[in-house]
Subunit: 366 residues, 2 copies
């Protein structure tokens, strides 16, 4: 029986073979460059996808909150890294988690380092997050005062163990010159490694953004990579050039509830609570909340003419449809929507249906 | 013990007294105009808030999906209305639900009407949704062909019962001239009522949008109102003029994880998975993802200088802070964030913490 027969309301589909290809490709790339791949599981948030990842030699993962770390604990990961400046209100929860799972966190200031020094009974690793130009989070690369305040403070603790430096070069999402961003990132990480390796001979450097990890072929001496989105990819990544549309591993199945042949619009049950409100601004000024694909028993196929979700509200999605799509579609059909931002769509939907009709888990809650 | 002691990660706060004031005010307004208030519970999605609503004479509710209708069934509502063009793939689920709860749906075409005629064993009411200018969903007000095709088809069924006409004048969110929109809405609903009341003497007319229901004082002969957002309000509604900031009943409590005194930014754990990515574009070109308030044991208080979330990603929120806020805040504090779109924020968070430290329910899933 087709997976399609299980769907009567908005449902996030996952194509396991595409997802496995994405995992395998990035895993090989890391291997080729002598790097360890520690994928960021904020995208999939799934134990089942974790199983697939382990088949490609992945032994450690990254997450973005302690709740997510809890979700994956006990799943035989060598280490779970929480790639978010640590929230000191969760110090005790961290300590409990560290009593059963190897955990590392990210630190960006001495205040939180001190709180952890005073509260951790169990060993926790830490990376110092560095800002080398993105400007969102992290210690500025030249701010040795803060870096050394963190290291000095951590030395007072026997449980807080320095692991290395981490950069999320998130500006690869917005700026076209990824090679230039990566040159700066490599320079920053190498400078820090050289400066501190005498004192910390085992320190490692890590970067983690899907555009860079997907498109670059020069990682210099960087030891580890932690991209997240690559496991699914999405329209944003396709626009950047990180992937092709055929590499997108998830699509929202959306029920068609009305068709307006004059306006060439199709109303689907697929709104902001399903897709999130991430949007691509098209060169012609239109806004694109997702691209339409046709669903069949094997998965999804592309349309020869572009059709897209032109507007959404909480539950409604309005598709601007090509003649081809208007022709093919009737009320009661399901259409597929490739998401603009797959991490957010997966977080909205909280489960996946595989193309062989199995439900795949996603962590609950935030 | 303060509710604040229960919070270590992003948590949506609800001020019950503000929420009750909003319910009471709208309930009185409806009463004053001889209208029935049938609030849209897609905003709160909460049985507990439903209990509060019943104390103000509210006996029927509106929802946006059959899953949400299921959530509220059995909670002693006289009727649950699903205000979304009905998804025919859920016809059997609807029939099951209608065997235990009084339900009504919205129809916009003859195809779905026919499917329901053929599948319903239990009585279900229906409204015809009319588009009088918003352009999102509904039968165009002058499209009597479709209206009559729906009515003719429904007559073949003994279980599908016509209730009336429904307009969601959602353009009140975007266009300044709400009185003009309401004049058109009233004219459309009155024209339809006059045209069909001989054949359907009990038919009613309903409108439902928070900006109109909050700001207008002339509803003509319209029988019912179904606004949703008013139960919480938010920054979008404040901008439109539907409410004042003091009427906003929910705020996200967000842990402070880093402060940059030079840039005057504060990093909080509060991203798109908590607030949603709805945004207000400010006159000066900046983007506002939420306004900062200070939390205390009694709830939240406003700052004399404006501070706001200037950018968000999946889990990160960056606050552009006033001098006052930078001065008052330290790492490990909690700050409050008034949401841009409270319906979406509540749907992201899936629970509320009241100011007396009780958890308030929110429906799971989409």
């Amino acid at each position: 029986m087709s997976y399609l027969s299980k769907i009567s309301s908005p449902t996030l589909l996952i194509d396991e073979s595409i997802c496995r290809n994405n995992l395998e490709r990035m895993s090989r790339k890391a291997q080729k460059h002598g790097m360890k791949l520690i994928p960021h599981f904020k995208t999939g948030q799934s134990k089942e996808i974790g199983k697939w990842a382990r088949e490609y030699g992945i032994k450690e993962i990254t997450v973005s909150s302690i709740k997510m770390a809890n979700y994956f604990s006990g799943d035989s990961w060598d280490n779970i890294h929480i790639a978010f400046p640590f929230n000191p209100l969760e110090a005790n929860t961290l300590d409990q988690l560290a009593s059963k799972t190897r955990i590392s966190v990210q630190l960006v200031n001495a205040e939180v380092t001190e709180i952890l020094c005073n509260s951790l009974k169990n060993e926790v690793g830490f990376f110092i997050e560095i800002d080398a130009g993105y400007g969102r989070t992290g210690v500025e690369v030249s701010d040795f005062g803060t870096i050394e305040a963190i290291l000095r403070k951590a030395k007072e603790s026997s449980t807080l163990v320095f692991k290395g430096f981490y950069i999320h070069a998130g500006h690869t999402y917005y700026e076209k010159d990824i090679p230039k961003i990566y040159e700066e990132t490599r320079l920053a990480l190498n400078m820090l490694k050289n400066k501190y390796r005498t004192e910390y001979p085992n320190l490692v450097t890590r970067l983690g953004d899907t555009p860079g990890c997907s498109t670059m072929d020069d990682f210099g001496d960087i030891d580890e990579m932690g991209p997240g989105n690559f496991v699914f990819y999405d329209l944003t990544q396709e626009r950047i050039g990180s992937c092709q549309k055929k590499d997108i591993a998830v699509a929202l199945a959306a029920p068609v509830v009305d068709i307006n042949k004059e306006k060439k619009t199709i109303l689907v049950h697929a709104g902001g609570v399903h897709l999130s409100k991430d949007v691509l601004n098209e060169p012609d000024g239109s806004r694109n909340f997702g691209e339409i694909v046709l669903l069949n028993d094997q998965g999804w196929i592309f349309l020869s003419e572009h059709s897209y979700v032109k507007s959404i509200s909480q539950e409604h999605g309005i598709i601007q449809a090509s003649d081809e799509l208007i022709e093919k579609t009737k009320v009661g059909d399901l259409l597929g929507i490739l998401p603009v931002h797959s991490c957010m769509t997966a977080d909205c939907m909280k489960s996946y249906l595989s193309l062989d009709g199995q439900w795949v888990d996603h962590a609950e809650g935030n």
